[in-house]
């Protein structure tokens, strides 16, 4: 309800304005009859037409001068012409002429002129099919008009200006947009000056117009800038042919014209800058092109092969995709690119100027295999700006047989562009470019800072180990009956090789189980299957989570120490643990704690690559302990350690076991198994062949140690004989004796030799011979 008064006020205002406007129009139109004024005027009379809208069509049969006040409209009825001039020496100035018909057959025009010496100036044409149409109206002037065509497809539009058999006319300073063409036909000695024609089909279309001058015209964004045909002695000066990009897209097309003199023109951004088709047509004619700029066109100069007698000098040919094109097969000849020792500037010229005279010391040659291919097969233009273009050119340079003929040669190319002043309008400001570039640089810097400082994902310093709310065994009591890790019938094949077969395991909190077996027995593969690293058959459940379906939850319960310690060597130890702490979602304080726990606190700032094998092993254990997981998996847990480090490491693991962690590990060392394991799974050829207590492992498997004895060389054979007599498996091995014994009877051979009076100078214990003990081959199943 509140808005109602304002609505009324606005409504009243609009109504008043409408009524006033309507009244004004009616008063003017009613008080002055334009047609009557023209009809009753005498020859040479000047009629001032008051502002207002007058109905068309207006017929002018008297030689009068019609001068309109500003805002004077001649309104057509949408049929036929709006104004027809039948009398000579008429001037029509300052009108707005609207609404012709749409008939192309009847050539409906804003003004149709059928008599000579007519002046059409300072008029505005709106919604017209044709703008100004001179039919046999010689010596006429069309000046300062603004002509806008109908909103129709180009093919259904008329011509903005058309001259038909109207020689000696002047067309100057007109603006034509959205019409079809500006047509000048059969009209010799015409001057076309300072016109702007945009968004049409042919900016200018000439036929049979000898001695015509084009100066200062702007022909932009048309299908073709100017198509000049069948005319002689044409002068083109200071014209702009820009972005004419229709299917043919010529800046200027020359077809069978003679005697063109073109100077100081700009041909830019067209499909073809200048197109030559049989021009000059007469054998006695020469055409000159001087001080023009031909730039950024798809083809700068396009010639039909038979073109001759064109002279080019002091032109700038800049960055045309193809500087010179020869359309079709054949070779150009008798065109001249040097006059008085001066050629043209070619932006792709790669020569030099040793004497500094501004002329290149070697010729410019337009020669390109890819361009030749494009000229013959235009569809290959699709590959412009592709590396394949360079590849083709390279092939042409490398292999002479591929080298195409030279299209044109400029013997005196200019080293610098000719300084030609061409006004191109106001340039856009610099700041958007600079701002965009700065934004790019700042964004990149921001990203890099994130990389350096780690702000992408920084862990909370106060965060402790992630509470394992979903984990029933996060704080397991020792030796509970519920397994925390269960593997059922794990089977993994690599091609025909069965790496693991029907592997079963139950691992309980506080329990340590060893996987024992020779190389290739499947220990590591089984462990990786349990971690989900290797796809396999069977089931693996860790702390109640299926390792395949909920791998993240399952692996969160496991600390893994691999056999081959692979870390990021250029990281510092604390950085590395910090990274894994983030993944495991534990606080940074845990990094210091675990480093301290494994005795690496003083090496925290060392790079991983600088650490010894033992330190890396400890670092791996530290990483495994970060989240205080209930399960530890260690593959060859002491592989990289010396004896002292091995003892220390085993001590660490025993403490973890005693704290309630479940430990699964692989090892070749009987002593480690005896020290840490509660049970042993003996594997061979991918299968668990037996289970036993650690203490009985050697006995159960018939394991033997190999002793190597250093004895006086003179008594080597005697020693071997003595040992065999005692029942040992002994033989000579170079300058030593090798003897196999039970692991718990390694001293007995020494005692036997001593009793026989043979001194043993030194001895060495080799590893257990697990292969013989398990009796398997590396390639078959269990035997």
């Amino acid at each position: 309800m509140r808005c109602r008064p304002s609505i009324w006020i606005w409504g009243a205002f609009i109504a008043i304005v409408g009524v006033v406007d309507l009244c004004a129009s009616r008063v003017d139109a009613g008080s002055f009859n334009l047609q009557e004024a023209v009809d009753t005027a005498g020859p040479g009379d000047r009629i001032s037409v008051p502002a207002g809208a007058y109905p068309g069509p207006l017929l002018i049969n008297q030689s009068v001068e019609l001068i309109a006040e500003p805002g004077t409209i001649i309104q057509g009825d949408g049929k036929g012409d709006v104004v027809q001039i039948h009398a000579p020496d008429v001037t029509l100035r300052g009108f707005i002429i609207r609404s012709t018909g749409k008939s192309l057959d009847r050539e409906n025009a804003g003004i149709t002129v059928l008599a000579p010496r007519v002046t059409i100036e300072d008029n505005v044409f709106e919604d017209v099919l044709f703008g100004v149409y001179l039919k046999k109206a010689h010596d006429s002037v069309i000046r300062n008009n603004r002509i806008g065509g109908k909103d129709l497809p180009v093919a259904r539009r008329g011509d903005g200006i058309r001259l038909w058999y109207s020689p000696n006319s002047v067309v100057e300073n007109n603006t034509v947009s959205n019409s079809r063409d500006v047509v000048i036909w059969f009209s010799n000695n015409t001057t076309i000056r300072d016109n702007t024609v945009t968004h049409g089909r042919y900016g200018l279309h000439f036929m049979y117009c000898d001695d015509t001058v084009l100066i200062g015209n702007h022909l932009e964004d048309n299908s073709v800038g100017a198509f000049l045909m069948y005319s002689r002695r044409l002068v083109l000066e200071d014209n702009r042919f820009i972005r004419n990009h229709g299917p043919s897209g010529y800046g200027v097309g020359l077809k069978e014209v003679d005697g063109v003199e073109a100077e100081d023109n700009l041909f830019a951004g067209n499909r073809v800058g200048i197109y030559f088709d049989n021009s000059p047509a007469s054998v006695d004619m020469v055409q000159h092109f001087t001080r023009n700029v031909v730039a950024y066109n798809d083809i700068g100069l396009a010639f039909m092969p038979s073109i001759e007698r064109n002279v080019f000098t002091d032109n700038n040919l800049i960055d045309n995709v193809e500087q010179v094109g020869v359309l079709g097969s054949g070779q150009l000849k008798n065109n001249q690119f040097v006059v008085d020792g001066r050629g043209n500037y070619w932006s792709d010229y790669t020569g030099f100027d040793l004497n500094g005279d501004g002329i290149g010391d070697i010729s410019y040659k337009a020669q390109s295999l890819f361009e030749n291919l494009m000229d013959r097969e235009p569809k290959l233009r699709l590959f412009l700006f592709s590396p394949v273009q360079q590849a083709v050119e390279l092939a042409a340079k490398a292999v002479p047989t591929f080298r195409p003929p030279v299209k044109i040669t400029d013997e005196a190319p200019l080293m610098q562009p000719v300084p030609i002043f061409i006004e191109t309008g106001s340039e856009p400001p610099v700041w958007p470019t600079a701002t965009a570039s700065l934004v790019l640089l700042l964004s990149a810097s921001g990203l890099l800072m994130c990389g350096m400082t780690g702000t992408l994902a920084r862990p909370s310093a106060a965060a402790g180990p992630t509470p394992m709310t979903e984990q029933p065994h996060s704080n397991p009591s020792k030796r509970t009956s519920e397994p925390i890790l269960m593997a059922g019938r794990i089977t993994k094949r690599f091609g025909r090789l069965t790496a693991v077969k029907d592997f079963d395991l139950d691992l309980r909190p506080g329990e340590a189980i060893a996987l024992w077996g020779p190389n290739g027995a499947g220990k590591t593969t089984a462990m990786r299957c349990m971690l989900g690293l290797i796809r396999c058959r069977g089931t693996v459940t860790i702390n109640g989570f299926d390792v395949r379906k909920r791998p993240k939850h399952a692996k969160r319960c496991v600390g893994y120490v691999p056999q081959e310690l692979a870390f990021y060597d250029d990281w510092r130890a604390k950085e590395l643990l910090g990274f894994f702490a983030k993944i495991k979602r534990v606080g940074r304080d845990r990094v210091s704690a675990v480093l301290d726990e494994v005795g690496l606190a003083e090496h925290a700032s060392k790079r991983v690559g600088e650490l010894s094998g033992g330190m890396k092993q400890r670092l791996a254990l530290a990483a495994a302990l970060l989240a205080d997981p209930p399960i530890l998996m260690l593959d060859e847990l002491t592989a990289n350690l010396d004896a002292a480090a091995r003892d220390s490491f085993l001590g660490l693991l025993c403490r973890q076991r005693d704290l309630g962690k479940a430990i699964l590990f692989t090892s070749h060392r009987l002593r480690e198994i005896e020290a840490l394991a509660d049970g042993v799974l003996v594997m061979a050829c991918g299968e668990v062949v037996s289970t036993c207590e650690p203490r009985k492992l050697a006995e159960a498997l018939g394991l033997k140690s190999s002793l190597r004895l250093w004895i006086d060389p003179d008594r080597l054979n005697e020693a071997v004989q003595q040992l065999r007599t005692e029942g040992y498996d002994a033989d000579r091995n170079g300058q030593t004796v090798r003897v196999k014994v039970r692991p718990d009877e390694k001293g007995k051979p020494l005692e036997a030799l001593s009793a026989a009076g043979i001194a043993v100078r030194d001895f060495e214990v080799d590893s257990n011979d697990s292969k013989s003990a398990t009796g398997c081959s590396e390639h078959g199943g269990a035997q």
Partner: protein, 276 residues
Amino acid sequence: MSLRTILIIAHKELRDALRNRWFVFYTVAFSVLAMAMAYLSLAGSGMQGLAGFGRTTAGLVNLVILLVPLMGLSIAAPSLSGEQEQGTLAYLLAQPITRFEALFGKYLGLSTSLTAALAIGFGICGLGIAANGDTAGVGVYLTLVVMTFALGLAMLSVGILISTLTRKASPAIGMAIVVWLCLTLFSDLGLMGSALAFKLRIQDLFGLALINPLQVFKMSVLHSMNASLDVLGPAGIYATQAYGRWLSALFIGSILGWIILPLVLASLTFSRKSVS
């Protein structure tokens, strides 16, 4: 899938990239070449005031087509396979992360570092050109930047796919170079030959060109420069007339396909891959 974990892996990749020589090398190489290209494009044409980014862009298109795929492929191809070869991938996957997180984290990190390298190159080049007073076509220039980023992401996706198909860095890089050669040279040579030998129809030629992301990149930038593809001859005119305003969408769709499809394939491959 946790975004936080992806960001952690991405950050690691980004940090590794900054420590590696490739980042510095590619950034410097791209910046220097872009500047050189811009200088050469502007050197002979400043007087008309018609040059500027439009022409520079045309020169940069060639540079980008050659260099960016090489950058993307050579960075991404050894990313997973190299870590697998070193053993660090198995160790990483033994941690509480999913394979998708590892893959997308790596992709995100590599994307960030590659994009940063390209942004530095374009930024320096743009500032140099702006300081020279040449301004025309900043919109075109930004289109070039964005499409270059997109092309880089597409090549990273292909590189990641290669990485999931190989177990060592060397074969991965070898395969990446083969793919690079195919995309930059062999496919276009093949298409050129086919166009001549089999008289391919224009629409077929254009359709086949759309398969190559490098051609798509080139055409999209040229389209933004000229509002049409007329410069590319009959095939370009056909594309402009047949697809009109949908042409940009076609190009964007094609590039997006090259980003997404290889990444999806890489995810599937990686999820089934045994890592040891």
